[in-house]
């Protein structure tokens, strides 16, 4: 997991270099154009434009290469990407040196741009590699300056900009190269130190995050065991009470019936709470979904069938408008059905008798959106997000039903988010609330 994260970050770095180079190419092209047209400086412009063209071509090949490396979610080896980054930086040093050669050598102050390369190297490479890059830059630029001084390489004059002859002055050359080398090594030293500290921090954050995840896992396993044990006892209690309540071992008087009935109902409520907690925890613990392709329309129809009885008992009408198109989704149909059933049961519970619940399914960009709109008590303002938290119950919901689990919506939220979707709730302007969730379309 961690190395995967790092390799993704390396690819992003490689892409960043390519993007930076697009910008550099644009700047080089414009600077050349600017110098030729406005500054009246004489330079071998054709050669500079050719370098710009070559650079453009080179960058395009790199861009294509990275795309191929990551084609269809492939994860290339980290060493491969690191090698490519090193290659890019070294090549850039060489290209900058040749640009400088054609634009005045040591007389062109753009040699300061080597500093940028050093910063980039220090961020993306190891300490040693960064110092090697600095040495390479000093070697390349130093060779250029010295070869031009001794006439082995042609010196292109920056006519109209710098005093001509500087390239020939040994003191100037020595001084400039000395400061140049010192600057590059110092930049590398400072940047790598800062980056080192940042990396350490990041590593410790990642470590802490991992530990938190592990702790959460332990907590979930603990809850799972606990609820499982409680459920066993509860089931036994329920069975025993049931026998007495149904007068299978002798008749009961009215008072006895009343008391045992209360006990039975409360056991049932406890049972549904434990069952909800068990489901939620199991889902939390299950790492990956067991995905299959399924039809959302069918799941919606199933959920409506499950809740229909209870709606009819309260004379609540459920209007379902799911269209005729078949909408397919990847995921675990059981979880989605459970989610929708939870939302629908809530809508029925908190909608007064005679009310209406309308359910719609719509296509919206790359997702499908399911909406459940009721004419119920609505959500107290400001609690629209809290109601999805574990054990949280809206203040007005408590008044309607004293013993809700406070887990139904957290289950829904986690199930939908595991599918890459979103869930949210709003109050309707004319009363009642609308619960919506979205699911990404299946790629076919």
């Amino acid at each position: 997991m961690e190395s995967l994260l790092k390799s993704t970050r390396r690819i992003q770095s490689a892409c960043w270099l390519v993007r930076l180079r697009w910008a550099a190419i644009a700047v080089l092209g414009m600077a050349t154009f600017f110098a030729s047209r406005l500054l009246d400086i004489t330079l071998p412009y054709r050669k500079l434009y050719i370098i710009t063209g070559v650079l453009f071509f080179y960058n395009f090949i790199l861009y294509d290469y990275i795309k191929q490396l990551t084609w269809k979610g492939q994860k290339p080896k980290e060493s491969k990407i690191s090698g490519m980054i090193l290659f890019q930086i070294s090549t850039d040093l060489f290209i900058l040196t040749s640009i400088l050669h054609f634009s005045g050598g040591i007389e062109n102050p753009f040699f300061l741009f080597f500093v940028f390369h050093m910063i980039i190297a220090s961020i993306l490479c190891s300490k040693l590699q960064s110092y090697i890059q600095a040495t390479l830059a000093i070697f390349l630029f130093g060779s250029l300056v010295i070869l031009e001084r001794f006439g082995i390489l042609w010196h292109y004059e920056l006519k109209g900009f710098a005093a001509h002859g500087l390239y020939n002055n040994p003191k100037f050359i020595f001084g400039t190269l000395f400061v140049f080398a010192g600057t590059l090594y110092l930049v590398v030293y400072m940047t790598t130190s800062i980056i080192g500290q940042l990396r350490e921090q990041q590593d410790s954050f990642e470590e802490a995050n991992k530990m938190l995840e592990e702790k959460d896992m332990v907590k979930n396993e603990y809850v799972l065991r606990l609820t499982h044990d409680i459920k066993g006892h509860l089931a036994a209690i329920e069975s025993c009470i049931n026998i007495v309540k149904n007068e299978m071992i002798g008749p009961l008087n009215e008072k006895q019936k009343d008391m045992i009935g209360r006990a039975y109902r409360r056991t049932g409520k406890c049972m549904s709470f434990i069952t909800a907690l068990l489901k939620l925890t199991k889902m939390n613990l299950a790492g990956k979904l067991e995905e299959e392709l399924f039809e959302l329309n069918q799941i919606i129809a199933n959920a409506v069938t499950v809740v229909q009885n209870r709606a009819t008992q309260k004379s609540i009408t459920i209007l379902s408008d799911i269209g005729k198109d078949v909408y397919r989704v990847y995921g675990e149909p059981v979880l989605i059905e459970e989610t929708l059933t939870n939302i629908l049961f809530n809508a029925i519970r908190y909608t007064p008798g005679g009310g209406r619940i309308s359910l719609t399914l719509r296509e919206q960009g790359a997702e499908y959106v399911v909406r459940v709109r009721d004419t119920g008590i609505g959500i107290p303002p400001g609690q629209e997000e809290q109601i999805f938290e574990e054990f949280y119950r809206a203040s007005n919901a408590r008044k309607v039903e004293r013993d809700g689990t406070g887990l139904g919506l957290s289950f829904a939220k986690q199930a939908i988010e595991k599918h890459g979707g979103k869930i949210w709730a709003q109050n309707n302007p004319d009363g009642g609330a609308t619960f919506s969730f979205s699911l990404p379309k299946a790629q076919t």
Binding site: M259, R262, A263, R265, R398, R402
Partner: protein, 131 residues
């Protein structure tokens, strides 16, 4: 001897009913209220001999607020209060040490849920004996 009157203030009907059965069995007269307002309404007209008060109703503070309200009322402050609680585990208050503290939790006795019938009867009898 006249039958003693008990007022149960609890919003859980099942707990209320379970206590009612136990108490009525021992010839107490039992009334109940589901919240602060209903209780105060009842107390305007009636004066029970003992009050059983659930500490946590709509909000975790309801029982505390009501117990202080009762002890500040000249007509009601003599009625002993038995506080009923299941919150020790949830909010971490040790009731044994604070029950009876006049400013903090001015109640005369306290009892943990679940209610054991013999403990309930014993506590109520104890409170009624006090002058």
């Amino acid at each position: 001897m006249e039958k003693a009157k008990v007022l149960i203030i609890d919003d859980d009907p099942d707990i209320t009913e379970a206590m009612r059965v136990v108490l009525e069995n021992k010839d107490y007269i039992v009334n109940n209220a589901e919240g602060i307002e209903q209780a105060m309404g009842f107390l305007k007209e009636n004066k029970p001999d003992v009050i059983i008060l659930d500490v946590m109703m709509d909000t975790p503070q309801d029982g505390f607020i009501l117990s202080r309200q009762l002890k500040q009322d000249v007509n009601l402050k003599d009625i002993p209060i038995l506080m009923l609680t299941s919150v020790k585990d949830k909010i971490g208050i040790d009731f044994e040490s604070v029950a009876g503290d006049e400013t903090w939790l001015p109640v005369d006795a306290y009892m943990q849920k679940p209610v054991k019938p013999d403990v309930l009867l014993e506590k109520i009898a104890g409170l009624l004996k006090k002058p």
